[in-house]
């Protein structure tokens, strides 16, 4: 296995798929000459040329819509949003067109497009650059939503996303682009909709994805010092959700904590809880605990930003509350 950065893993996924299929192209702000705002597309312009690696003006709704039209007639666009905060400008295109064209045309057209970019907070970027969008997009039928947490998952899932005939919302993280991890040398894909047990345990199930997965793994180390063995489930795909994996873990541990960076109101974590309550209620020994970002816009001040976000001690406290060991 090679040890590479998350951004390199995503870069490999795109390059391999562009080698494989001439209809795949990358379009977005600063993806070509600048080599990517976060260097995810480093070297791709030199490798594939300006026909297939395309710098856009700052016009998110425009180039997202262009991608949809191109996908309707057989191309397979990868649309990079510099961050998903800017991608919000393209929500009309994604919600009203990409997610619905197949349905409202009675199945005549499909929109095989990946829209990818970082979601969530980085450091001190303030209220407009620090939003987690998963519940906004996961609410819409017709969209697939993926939020990987490791370079290997990122690569395998991005390759699946590019090959998928649906519109896929792919969420990365500024904070994880430099993170390193083992990635198989040989070609592989990870199927959409299949979660992963990131740590095996017997006392409590913690569900987390993307950046929060790493907070949870650190918290699990802390908990282990007190003899609490947490099982950490990474759904990897938000929609469709690998409900079976979560339920089977909860049935084993009888406790469930969901950790997410997003705001608490109507969040994906609440959907996870609903599935567990409705399908594994009798297995629960305690109410499901939630750790979310606080229900406020992101403050700039670093001390308050830390307070706003989930962290290890919040996760440890939630687990102990669930286990009645506070």
């Amino acid at each position: 296995m090679a040890i590479i950065q998350f951004r390199e893993a995503l870069n490999q996924a795109m390059c391999e798929e562009m080698d494989r299929d001439p209809n795949v192209f990358l379009m977005g702000e600063e993806v070509a000459q600048y080599q990517g705002a976060y260097k995810v597309s480093q070297g791709m312009l030199q490798r594939f040329g300006e026909k297939r690696v395309i710098d856009t003006p700052i016009t998110e709704a425009g180039f997202a819509g262009l991608g949809i039209g191109a996908a309707m007639v057989g191309l397979r666009p990868i649309i990079e949003m510099m961050t998903w905060n800017f991608g919000i400008l393209a929500f009309d295109q994604i919600f009203n067109n990409a997610a619905k064209i197949r349905y409202m045309s009675g199945g005549q057209f499909k929109v095989p497009m990946v829209v990818r970019g970082p979601s969530g907070a980085a450091h001190a970027l303030g209220a407009q650059h620090s939003q987690s969008i998963e519940s906004m997009v996961a609410h819409v039928p017709g969209l697939i939503v993926i939020a990987p947490s490791t370079p290997a998952d990122g690569k395998g899932l991005l390759k699946s996303a590019i090959r998928d005939d649906n519109t896929v919302i792919f969420m990365e993280s500024e904070m994880m682009y430099g993170q390193k991890g083992e990635v198989p040398e040989e070609e592989y894909v990870i199927p959409i909709g299949v979660g992963d047990i990131k740590r095996i345990g017997k006392d409590v199930t913690i569900v987390a994805w993307s950046k929060m997965l790493h907070v949870v793994l650190t918290a699990a180390d802390e908990l282990m010092k007190e003899g609490i063995e947490a099982e950490v489930i990474d759904p990897r795909t938000i929609r469709p959700l690998d409900e079976g994996l979560i339920l089977s873990s909860v049935k084993k541990t009888n406790h469930c904590v969901v950790v997410e960076e997003a705001w608490p109101f109507a969040s994906v974590g609440k959907e996870v809880a609903h599935r567990v309550y409705s399908k594994a209620f009798d297995y629960l020994d305690a109410p499901i605990e939630h750790v979310n970002g606080e229900d406020v816009p992101m403050p700039y001040a670093t001390n308050l930003e830390k307070l706003m976000l989930p962290n290890v001690s919040k996760v440890v406290a939630a687990v102990k509350k669930s286990l009645n060991r506070l």
Binding site: G62, F63, L66, N97
Partner: protein, 339 residues
């Protein structure tokens, strides 16, 4: 509507002398306009009988725009429409039975009953759909044009929208991209003077809508949208140029809708007078074109009478077909959400 039409009945040569239009094609263009008119008159009646639900936006009065534009295209060109899409669908050669069945919400409809009045689709005709968010479909047209260029095809894309859509941000984003990347797309703004009940003068700082394209240094012009030959002429020229040079054009077709914004509102009322509508009806594109074809001997009154009869039968059959078609099965509710 300041421009006057140039119908010259006594001209030695007909206006189409310099256009590559056979008599058969001229007759077909007339027939299509008449079919749209009669089809929608009937759709309005069926709406009144609650056979058609939801919103139903009629194209009556604007037929020359869609018919003239689409007549200038090839079969491998792409067509995008807005929510006022029945006329474009018929002009694209879609089956009237399938369109009426779609209006009736039937499984035999062109979108299997899943789209309705605002969302007609027909992949076999490259009819890329009717869209219900004002201006929201405009960037999609730049996408098919991009794909043509990417794959080395010389297909052209045309995109219909109303003058109100030209105030939306995404319209401007798309014009910028199309001009910047020289995409083979023709933006056809059907300026029928009202965005629902808001007059263009109350909605846009610039009243010559085609001039909005000047911000993107795009070829642009205004045309009499009540004149099917003028529509044909300008779209043919724009399409030829798009094919040859891969360049976009913005065309403002000045037209008028004779009915309300949708079936839910009256023909005239708070925002326009009966006198205005009656005055505009003097520019009705259908009798105007008929007079010209009759004068030139391309059509005879007997042929028009025969055509009316045939169209009546087509429309009757479409209603009958829609009426007797099955609804989508319950399990279809969950089909086609994902591939």
């Amino acid at each position: 509507m300041a421009e006057t039409r140039t119908v010259v009945k006594q001209a030695k040569k007909p206006r189409w002398a310099n256009l590559d239009l056979s008599n058969a094609k001229l007759i077909d263009m007339y027939r299509q306009m008449l079919l749209i008119r009669r089809f929608e008159e009937r759709a309005a009646q069926e709406y009144g009988k609650s056979k058609i639900g939801g919103f139903c936006h009629l194209y009556i009065g604007q037929e020359a725009v869609g018919v003239g534009a689409i007549a200038a295209l090839r079969k491998d060109d792409y067509i995008f429409s807005s929510y006022r899409d029945h006329g474009h669908a018929l002009a694209a050669g879609m089956d009237p039975n399938g369109i009426m069945a779609e209006l009736f919400g039937k499984f035999t409809g062109c979108s299997k009953g899943m789209g309705g009045s605002m969302h007609m689709f027909d992949a076999s005709k490259n009819f890329m759909g009717g869209y219900g968010i004002v201006g929201g479909h405009v960037p999609l047209a730049s996408g098919t044009a991009f794909a043509s260029k990417y794959t080395g095809k010389d297909s052209v894309t045309i995109c219909f929208f109303g003058e109100a859509a030209a105030n939306q941000g995404v319209f401007h984003e798309t014009l910028n991209l199309a001009a910047l990347w020289k995409l083979p797309v023709i933006f056809i703004c059907e300026n029928n003077r009202y965005g629902m009940g808001t007059a263009v003068e109350r909605a846009s700082a610039v009243w010559d809508i085609y001039q909005k394209a000047s911000a993107y240094d795009m070829d642009r012009l205004a045309v009499d949208g009540m004149d099917v030959l003028e529509m044909y002429r300008v779209i043919k020229r724009a399409a030829d140029r798009a094919r040859k040079n891969s360049s976009p054009t913005m065309i403002e077709a000045r037209t008028y809708r004779f009915r309300g914004h949708s079936m839910s509102d009256p023909i005239h009322g708070h925002y326009r007078t009966k006198e205005e509508v009656e005055e505009q009806k003097k520019s009705d594109p259908i009798p105007g074109f008929a007079a010209e074809l009759l004068a030139a001997g391309v059509l005879t009154q007997a042929m028009i009478d025969q055509m009316e009869l045939e169209i009546k039968n087509i429309v009757n059959e479409a209603v009958d077909f829609a009426d007797h078609s099955p609804e989508p099965p319950a399990e279809f509710l969950f089909e086609n959400v994902y591939v």
